[in-house]
Amino acid sequence: MTQGDAAQAQALCDRFGAPFPCLADPSREGYRTYGLKRGSVMEVMGPAAILRGARAASKGHFVERVRGDAFQMPGTFIIDRDGLVRYTRYARHSADHPSVEELIVALAMIREGERESPHA
């Protein structure tokens, strides 16, 4: 989910070869509906975000120009097949994203729950 328009979202998908859909929310209504707020200067550009950014840069990943609201905070959610939220991660700073491993564990737990109670 991105703040830009649909074409920008698709360009992002194409650039990284994403095997999943990239969607657009230029009005950020979805961001607000999911409770994602605008951050403070410290949350967006504070030491924690800078340190995480430096680590990413050391691996060749760089932040490009922000399009949309530069103070919009990110977040990650997992929703099960019944439409229930099963995982939430409201970022504590702008570079606070869950690891892939954390998401895989959360998804495995959902799958385990589905095995115990097969989805109708």
Binding site: D5, Q8, R15, G35
Partner: protein, 41 residues
Amino acid sequence: MLKPGDAAPDVTFARSGGDEVALSAFWREAPLVVAFLRHFG
């Protein structure tokens, strides 16, 4: 803020090609990971 166990808001978003899609179209098929990003890269 949402918490585990809450009903996920079924918001509609734009995708390339001009159409719109509701999140429920995805989560009905499989558990859905939705990452709201700040910027492009």
